[in-house]
């Protein structure tokens, strides 16, 4: 059953087109990475999903129209909009009390249990916490809400690698189960590659690539081609080619691994490799 469906989702800010007709369908129990360069429309898409901005086209989240029914929708959706939105004046104890007061699905004991494993003190104000601690606090709050959908917009931006790793570990181990769905945007693609079940690349307001991680592992191969095999390899229509230390590295989509192995060293590309290829091709296509 889809948790989010969108048909022809458009959003314009003045003359800038932020979303240029997005169609997507996100099923329950998936962890979807919405990946795109800066200004691609990631945040706009998430804001539309959260009912924070009006839009054109059709959008359905958990059976509701987000713009018309935001306050009902967010009973079932948790949202972390980057690290810096927790009010700086609030105390940890106050934010726990407040959410417990206004949110029927918030379980303070869950948040407390998570916070007990951090250095965050209940009487501290948010402004006294480090960036990493604020992200931990926000995650603790979001995870204590028994939501069907968790929306994360660059949740680990500006954090060091230790915090980033902890963040996703907690998310997977303490929060995620098959009944929940997570949508996350990030620039640090490679770090969350193992966390995701699905990938979506967004570029200039459009979804330019969609793939489950299982399919991704079967579809894409990168070959470091022997000098004499270059022409033969190019004949197999790689989706991208780059040079490294005098050798060509070709990226293939859906080509048989056995066939490629004869041409050079085959390895599984990272999401970032495929991302660069897809976005690069899309930009070139636009220029032509």
């Amino acid at each position: 059953m889809p948790v989010i469906t969108a048909h022809g989702l458009r959003k314009r800010f003045g003359n800038t087109v932020a979303l240029d007709g997005i169609d997507l369908r996100i099923e329950e129990g998936r962890i979807v990475g919405l990946i795109g360069p800066n200004g691609a429309g990631k945040t706009t898409a998430l804001h539309a999903i959260m009912g924070l901005i009006p839009y054109e086209g059709e959008l359905n989240v958990l059976g509701r129209d987000p713009w018309q029914e935001r306050d009902q929708l967010v009973r079932d959706v948790s949202f972390i909009a980057d690290v810096a939105v927790l009010p700086r004046w609030i105390r940890v104890s106050q934010v726990l009390d407040y959410i417990a007061g206004v949110h029927a699905r918030f379980d303070p004991s869950k948040a407390e249990a998570f916070l007990a494993r951090t250095a965050i003190r209940r009487e501290s104000r948010v402004k006294e916490l480090s960036k990493g601690m604020i992200a931990q606090l926000h995650l603790a709050l979001a995870m204590a809400i028994d939501a069907r959908l968790l929306v994360l917009d660059e949740p680990t931006l500006g954090l060091d690698i230790l915090f980033r790793k902890q963040f996703y570990d907690s998310l997977l181990n303490d929060y995620f189960d098959g009944g929940r769905t997570i949508v996350v945007t990030t620039n640090q693609v490679d770090e969350i590659q193992d966390v995701l079940t699905d990938l979506m690349f967004i570029h200039r307001g459009r979804i330019v690539f969609e793939c489950s991680m299982e399919a991704f592992d079967a579809r894409f191969w990168e070959v470091k081609v022997h000098a004499e095999g270059t022409a033969a390899a190019r004949a197999l229509k790689p989706i991208h080619e780059r040079q490294a230390l005098g050798r060509s590295i070709l990226l293939f989509d859906g080509t048989d691994r056995e066939q490629l192995a004869k041409l050079g060293d085959v390895r599984r590309p990272s999401v970032a490799d495929v991302f660069l290829a897809v976005i690069g091709n899309d930009s070139e296509g636009a220029r032509k």
Binding site: D71, V85, P87, W89
Partner: protein, 309 residues
């Protein structure tokens, strides 16, 4: 709507039915607590003003026996004035403090959350824009007048008890103090004045300030003050009249005149007559509440549509 999304809506609709809808009063309670956490000046400022005034009162208390003797020699019509003066000043000081706090609170109420982007956090919680705006409006219109009453009442009671003790020790006329002051009626009139004038009559001004706070990209104070000033000036130039300015001045300075009679006395004077019936049927009161509602509805719409700055 296509068939698929209709099925979806039904399926999730069942789930939504399980969702406990929290009572509106609970959401309002937590929203107001939240405002008090953020803007501690709402109670710290009046308490500090009361504290400073109380110190001043203590330092001047030794004049009291002499003042009482002097008052006893006056014409009975004018006996109360010197005795009640410190009580009136205390009430006036706290009212002034509350107005200053209310104005600055209102100007920041909807702008602050957009400035620090915390609006994204607040909007990720299941609480409607209407509840948020109403809770913010209730601070200057409802809570501050009541808080001002509570603090003033306690301060004046303390002043009265200490004065009585001083008069007892110095052999002064305690009974005369209590009779002249008629503390109970004075307090009742204070409460009435605060609710009718500082709450109801001034409400459209706070509504305007909240609206500006929700709309202004920055410099909310200027946006709040300049347009009314421009309208007033324009009216003066074009028509040579100043009815707009007079209307604003009446709201700010002498609003709620319909609430009591006996002009020329302070509202706490025991001879003041409450004219609640007259107040409740005067069109100005209802027009003012209507204007307040319009500004607040506009503020709700603004909060819904606007993201952070």
């Amino acid at each position: 709507m296509n068939t698929e999304s209709r099925t979806l809506r039904e399926t999730w609709g069942e789930r939504a039915a399980e969702t406990i809808t929290l009572p509106a009063i609970r959401l309002m309670y937590w929203s107001i607590r939240r405002e008090l956490w953020e803007s501690r000046s709402i109670y710290i400022a009046p308490l500090s003003a009361a504290g400073v005034f109380f110190l001043g009162f203590l330092l001047s208390i030794f004049h009291l026996p002499a003042e009482m003797r002097q008052a006893a020699g006056l014409d009975p019509m004018h006996q109360r004035e010197p005795i009640a003066m410190p009580y009136n000043i205390a009430a006036g000081l706290l009212m002034l403090t509350a107005i200053v706090v209310g104005v600055f609170y209102s100007l920041d109420a909807l702008q602050g959350e957009r400035r620090d982007r915390s609006i994204f956090f607040w909007k990720s919680l299941p609480i409607s824009d209407r509840t948020v705006v109403l809770s913010k409006a209730s601070i200057p219109i409802l809570l501050l007048p009541l808080l001002t009453f509570g603090i003033t009442f306690l301060l004046q009671l303390l002043m009265l008890l200490i004065s009585s003790a001083v008069l007892l020790i110095s052999g002064g006329d305690v009974a005369m103090l209590w009779t002249l002051l008629s503390f109970g009626r004075m307090s009742l009139l204070l409460l009435y004045h605060l609710v009718t004038v500082h709450g109801v009559s001034v409400a459209p001004i706070y509504g305007w300030l909240l609206f500006v706070s929700g709309w202004a990209p920055r410099a909310a104070f200027l946006w709040a003050v300049l347009p009314p000033l421009a309208i007033g000036t324009l009216e003066k130039i074009v028509f040579g009249t100043s009815s707009f300015a007079a209307m604003i001045a009446d709201r700010v300075g002498g609003g709620g005149r319909e609430a009591w009679t006996t002009p020329g006395t302070v509202p706490m004077d025991p001879t003041t007559h409450i004219t609640l019936g007259h107040f409740l049927i005067s069109p100005g009161v209802w027009i003012g509440l209507g204007v307040t509602a319009i500004f607040l509805i506009a503020a709700v719409r603004l909060r819904r549509n606007q993201g952070p700055m």
